[in-house]
């Protein structure tokens, strides 16, 4: 069997990562690779350790053991487990969204996108000093960053709400805004933690288009956690399945779907049924939110 495409040019390689919380082993000796330009899905039942993997990748947790290597297109590599969380975003260029949305709810939509461009703007403002005395270069840089924000607002269809507080947006729009905010950091790898959770089918479809578009036009590689099988099967190139912190399957969507261990993990029911259950659950969750 030839090596799968994601092994050849991985943007992220996770090698033997283990994460313990006291006695609980949330992730156990996990290894997988996410290919450059791929959409890689990380799936698994509740509590499988998916979010924990994300937290290790983005530096919020330091893995107990193992290595996380990020490779840029220009060949530079970053060892994520050794970097501070903000550095992972700033220099290794990994952006993420959160399972429970974390927007700056008291700031406007536009401000949210400007905060995401903090680092380039900080440099343009001469670490604040030059900007404070009214240096023109900063003005220009700010204009550019507003342009960039506008570009993303257009993509997520929120231009007309740019001046509204983020906390006022409907749920689906908040999800999209969080993705746009992450994209404003110009990431090499974008990690999405259950982006479709709580979305209705139409919104979910739009999300798929947005993700495919991001990959196509920005060339960003995507890693996503998803419960919604329809999303996973439709857009991902590569699926990794976790259960109790252990990888139980890894391959193309078709391969994973046929894997008996995966079926067993999902309570022995068909994927379609799982999707149905999930959808029903999502509706309930959405209702509970309102």
């Amino acid at each position: 069997m030839p090596a799968p495409s994601w092994e050849k040019d991985p943007v992220l390689s996770v090698e033997h990562v283990t994460m313990r919380f006291g006695g609980l082993v949330a992730v156990n000796d996990l290894s997988f690779a996410a290919g450059r330009g791929d959409i890689t899905a990380l799936i698994g039942p509740n509590g499988a350790g998916k979010t924990t993997v994300f937290n290790c990748i983005t530096g919020f947790y330091k893995p107990t053991q193992g290595m996380l290597r990020l490779q840029h297109g220009d060949g530079s590599t970053h060892l994520l487990e050794r970097m501070a969380d903000f550095k992972i975003s700033a220099t290794a260029k990994v952006a993420r969204t959160f399972q429970n949305i974390r927007l700056f709810s008291g700031m406007t939509v536009l401000e949210n996108l400007l905060v995401a461009q903090h680092n380039p703007l900080m440099i343009a403002s001469g670490m604040t000093v030059l900007g404070l005395i009214g240096f023109p270069a900063y003005k220009k840089a700010e204009k550019r960053s507003i342009e960039k924000a506008k570009y993303w607002l257009d993509k997520i269809n929120l231009t007309d709400r740019a001046d509204d507080p983020a906390g006022d947006l409907p749920y689906g729009a908040q999800r999209r805004l969080e993705i746009a905010r992450a994209m404003c950091t110009s990431p090499e790898l974008l990690c999405l933690d259950e982006p479709a959770a709580g979305l209705n089918p139409r919104e979910s479809g739009e999300l798929n288009q947005l993700l495919l578009d991001i990959r196509k036009t920005e060339g960003t590689s995507l890693l996503l956690i998803e419960h919604d099988m329809s999303v996973v099967m439709e857009i991902s190139d590569h699926v990794v399945v976790l259960e109790y912190g252990i990888k139980i399957s890894d391959g193309t969507p078709a391969e994973v779907k046929a894997d008996p261990r995966v079926i067993a993990a999902y309570l022995g029911v068909d994927d379609d049924e799982v999707a149905e259950v999930e959808e029903a659950l999502d509706v309930v969750v959405e209702e509970a939110r309102q």
Binding site: F21, F60, F98
Partner: protein, 305 residues
């Protein structure tokens, strides 16, 4: 060695008082997650209530037995301080529950200013000395002209604290009120759904904390023989330090922390400079909060992303 023993006894005495106050901080923090900033001043007011009734009993009503007077005074002070604390919670904190997080803290700071200034206005700014109430002491050990002694006052303080803590422990561990409190600590919404009267439980928590502070206030008055309207702040901060040191939210922790703070303070004054004893207390507070915010007996807080 003699100095050490003597300071140990003094430290335990002082620590008992801090421990009694610290319980009020710890319980309120445990149940509504708020630093009850005015608790130190509640303690001070309770000491004034004790002072007033002690004078009334001994000078007006001619109660001759100091022990009886102290007992009555302590009970009155517990009741009235509890009533006051209930009112404060009702007026200044309850309307702010569930709103902006800083609001209750600011309100509590305001309340602390109100209490100390109210006493200043109502009772005057001067120190209030009472004649020594209990003077006897027992010499434990004598060597090289240095006597290690424990005074009756100290014995009373330690004994009263121990008995009260035992009753209190029974109250929160074995009664339905204690269960309700622990339920509210875990999850207030869920407790309410299960039919626990959350408002009343919180009120009672304040009242219990205040009653213990009133015991401390009475003992403080008996021990030092003087109170002042500004005596709430520093003991308040030290008791809070004790609560944090022991692990905030934990009752045994509060007592343990109180004893430790009392010991540290007396040993510091005994062996180092008395000038810097409050600096030591504040430094411990800062160091504990920075390096071991979960305290000795508390549970560490994990932040999930």
């Amino acid at each position: 060695m003699e100095l050490f023993l003597q300071q140990f006894i003094n430290g335990v005495t002082l620590g008992s008082i801090y421990g009694l106050i610290a319980i009020g901080y710890t319980m309120v923090f445990g149940i509504i997650g708020m630093v009850n900033f005015s608790h130190g001043d509640v303690f001070m007011v309770s000491s004034f209530i004790a002072l007033i009734f002690f004078l009334v009993l001994t000078t007006w009503l001619g109660v001759a037995s100091v022990a009886l007077a102290l007992l009555i005074v302590m009970v009155i002070s517990m009741v009235l301080t509890g009533l006051m604390s209930w009112t404060i919670e009702r007026v200044a904190y309850r309307p702010l529950r569930g709103s902006f997080r800083l609001a209750p803290l600011i309100s509590a700071i305001g309340m602390s200013i109100v209490l100390s200034n109210f006493i200043q206005v109502a009772q005057g700014p001067r120190n209030k000395p009472v004649p020594p109430m209990v003077t006897e002491s027992i010499a434990l050990w004598e060597r090289n002209g240095f006597t290690v002694s424990v005074s009756y006052k100290q014995l009373i303080i330690i004994a009263v604290t121990a008995v009260l803590l035992a009753c209190f422990w029974f109250l929160v561990q074995k009664t339905s009120l204690g269960r309700a409190q622990r339920a509210c600590e875990q999850d207030r919404k869920m407790a309410a759904l299960l039919g626990i009267n959350v408002d009343r439980t919180i009120s009672l928590t304040f009242v219990m904390g205040a009653a213990l502070a009133a015991v401390a206030g009475t003992l403080f008055l008996m021990y030092y023989g003087v109170v002042n309207f500004s005596d709430g702040f520093v003991p308040g901060v030290k008791a809070f330090t004790a609560a944090v040191l022991g692990g905030i939210g934990s009752l045994p922790g509060a007592v343990l922390g109180g004893l430790l703070i009392g010991l540290i303070e007396t040993f510091w004054s005994g062996y180092f400079s008395i000038d810097y004893k409050d600096v030591a207390a504040f430094s411990i507070l800062a160091i504990v909060l920075i390096f071991m915010p979960q305290g000795i007996l508390g549970r560490p807080e994990v932040e999930k992303v």
